[in-house]
């Protein structure tokens, strides 16, 4: 079947308004879960691959998908339900993150997560890529904040998991399987979150040093203390290392003063910061022409790997929990150093993900290594799950770990 007849076929099942043609691809923009299901069912039955896209901010993550159909979820937008007294909200997947947060703010609440590019990035895309920022230290990642989900499988099945209550152990947590699955098991249509009150007393501070060792000790002392920290982030820039701390305790508990004393004890100086420091990850990822990696490690390994990245000429933003975003220059030597870094992360039991490659790519071999990496031990089981959920490989085929 040619493109045209598929366009007609899709229009017949999903409605003419939500199917368009663009540069040889079919762009499907469903406005309801039912339209979404009809599109998936048609594509699966006709062995047409679908690439799922929200705002497309993280489309470069994972392996490229060559698909006939691009499914835009941005038409599925809006906060469906905000039960503020129950601290829960149900949101359509195509809703931009910041738009959702603004709606929840009306009752002084939030989904306690600070993902990348919230003004444009959609709820569905953020969940599918399991993005998280500094707030994860205190509130956990999406797996801890999502209590229910509506998903559409490749065959058009509309399934719900979890519910609208915070505590619920009935059935399998399919929503955990969907979180971070890069859309390879189903299309996320709606997400129900548990909410937190907006932080009333957040205050940010930064300690800078040319030697990371001093900051390492301070970082460990903060983790072991009773300070209520919402964020703890180590940054490496050409002018040195910076430890960012966000405190959130009641002013009466005088935690800023405690932190100041701890800092002075290390012969360092504490400075007040603006909220902008928590956008450092965005700034790093937007640097053009860089090789950018996400690396995971144990919390105590963060300062040592930070030093390594700096010595190899890279810049980084790392959350104290053990997630580091590192940017290396694009030249051949730096790429070799980045590959060494990836190797050492792997030796320690962590993982490296390639988030952005410099253009033009200078060494195809390096990219291949960085992209593939080591497959997880349970990869055969993951493939089997994919096979059960999406036997025709309709949804984002090949995009996920090891070509799932």
């Amino acid at each position: 079947m040619g493109v045209l007849s598929n366009v007609d076929g899709l229009r017949a099942v999903a409605g003419a308004d939500c199917i368009a043609e663009c540069a040889g691809q079919i762009v499907a923009s469903p406005r309801t879960t039912e339209e979404l299901a009809a599109i998936a069912r048609y594509a699966s039955a006709n062995k047409l691959a679908i690439e799922i896209a929200g705002a497309g901010t993280k489309r470069g993550w994972g392996n490229p998908v060559g698909a006939k159909i691009v499914l835009k979820t941005t038409g599925l937008a809006g906060v469906r339900h905000h039960s503020w007294q129950d601290l829960t909200a149900t949101v359509a997947a195509g809703t931009p993150w910041a738009a959702m947060q603004r709606a929840l703010e009306a009752h002084g609440q939030q989904v306690a997560l600070d993902p990348l590019w919230p003004e444009t990035a959609t709820v569905g895309g953020i969940v599918a890529t399991n993005d998280s920022g500094a707030l994860r230290l205190r509130y956990g990642s999406l797996r801890d904040l999502i209590i229910g989900m509506t998903i559409v499988l490749a065959d058009g099945t509309i399934a719900k998991s979890g519910g609208k209550v915070v505590k619920n152990v009935a059935g399998y947590d399919l929503h955990k399987l969907m979180t971070g699955a890069f859309g390879t098991l189903g299309v996320i249509a709606e997400v129900t979150f548990r909410l937190h009150p907006l932080s009333q007393y957040a205050a940010s501070f930064t300690v800078s040093a040319s030697d990371v060792t001093n900051l390492k000790q301070l970082m460990q002392a903060i983790v072991a203390s009773h300070l209520l920290t919402e964020g703890l982030q180590l940054r490496g820039t050409p002018d040195g290392f910076h430890l960012d701390v966000q405190l959130c305790a009641h002013p009466d508990s005088k935690q800023a003063e405690i932190l100041r004393q701890m800092t002075a004890g290390q012969d360092l100086e504490l400075e007040s910061s603006s909220n902008r420091i928590w956008k450092a990850r965005e700034a790093l990822l937007l640097q053009p022409g860089r090789l950018i990696l996400k690396a995971t490690m144990l919390p105590t390994e963060v300062p040592d790997f930070a030093l390594e990245v700096a010595e190899k000429g890279g810049e980084f933003v790392a959350q104290s929990l053990g997630i580091m975003y590192a940017a290396f220059p694009a030249d051949e030597l730096s790429c070799k150093l980045a590959e060494e870094f990836r190797y050492r992360i792997g030796l320690q039991g962590g993982t490296t993900f390639l988030l952005a490659r410099p253009t033009p790519a200078s060494s195809a071999e390096t990219w291949a290594l960085l992209t593939e990496g080591e497959l997880p031990e349970a990869h055969p089981l993951m493939r089997e799950i994919k096979r059960r959920f999406d036997p025709n490989r309709t949804l984002n085929p090949g995009r996920f770990v090891g070509g799932i």
Partner: protein, 489 residues
Amino acid sequence: MLDRSILEALRDAVNAGNAGEPSGLITETNQLQTYECDGLTNFRTVPDAVLLPRSAEQVQAIVRICAQHRIPFVARGSGTGLSGGALPAKGGIVISFARMNRILEIDIPNQRVVVEPGVINAHVTEAVAAHGYFYAPDPSSQSVCSIGGNVAENAGGAHCLKYGFTTTHVLGMDVVLPSGELVRFGSAAPDAPGYDLTGVFVGSEGTLGVATKIILRIVKRPETVQVLLAAFDSIPAAAQTVSDIIAAGMLPAALEMMDRLAAMASEAAVHPNYPVCEALLLVELDGPEAEVAAQMVEATELCRKNSAWEVRVAQTAEERGLIWKGRKAAFAAVGRISPNYIVQDGVIPRTALPRVLEDVTRMAGEVGLRVANVFHAGDGNLHPLVLYDRAIAGQEKIALDLSERILHLCVDHGGSITGEHGVGKEKQQAMGYMFSEPDMDTMQLVRQAFDPQNIANPDKLFPRPRLCGEKTGPYTPHPLETAGIAEFF
């Protein structure tokens, strides 16, 4: 009964490398009877054999034999579950983790503890308490229940409003799949590549395999803890206070409520000095001292605003302990005022609390039974205790029927049939009330990927009549695959 050659193979598997140790195979009928049920005692099945492995390799060898002969198996920790999750299958075996109870690693700087599944929940906290840490999930049975069982059921507790559930605190694990393969899920580092298998495994009630090693996250003990007790003349007034506390932006470590019957039973049993009232509210706040002090003042005012006639802040650790002792003893205490009772575990949106409790009282009155209510008010997890007397002909059936209708009521209000006890054997049918066929068919896809032979704790969790995979149909290979041109994936 299992074939003699299979029993011998199981004996070899469980005793390999254990020279001089007691055998890990139990086949004596009187000993097997210990394993015929868990905390839900109205379902009983004597297993064909009980295995007590000491290592992951032995578990693997046992499961391989089960896979080869399609023998159903169920893992068992301390057997404290309340939904029949550890109930053996007919003709099946029990794998008991009583001998795999070592804490393998304590890593304070990284806030991790690695344990075998038989480790008792409270022992994790004991092992790290000296460093100022604790393991947050605290089911009422925490002094006896095992981490493996907690993982299977995704156990909660009174403090999960603030600290989350078992799933929040499990970072990774080693699992023996129903095929006998041993694999690692997740990793010590965050965001392990691939699907979140740890997330789907926790709370899967033993239907996806058997965990043999678990990486837990521990939490820094808060600087201070304070407990407030308030007495109200009505449930709606106490419920409104809960909503007001939440609306004020506080996230208490625990928010518990008891009705008159439950509070009176507790008082009679452990004498926590509870006031006699229609609704008793416990509020626990923790964090930095000054913050907790400020919030306690605010919470007290909110109680008063909603006409609490007594508000008491525990002044000492002893007083605090006594208040909690009364709450934690509530289930057992109810046993003193009624020969038999059924514990239910439904969840509702917190805002539906007054209406649901009113309906429960009315429904109980209609069939002439009493219901005592003890619940986690903060997260809407009800524990209605349906009181009855088995000796009175027909009353058990009425009680079971009432408790099922209470679950339906929870679902009708947008809630869940279970907040922490699990579906197990007990609530299989209620699953069909909460989830649609497509929802459960989708869950079955996961089940089939893990356990195509349906031998891991079969006939639990999903409603009875439908067989595994009945609706979804077999996988049809792609023509290119059949022709050997392309590999799937």
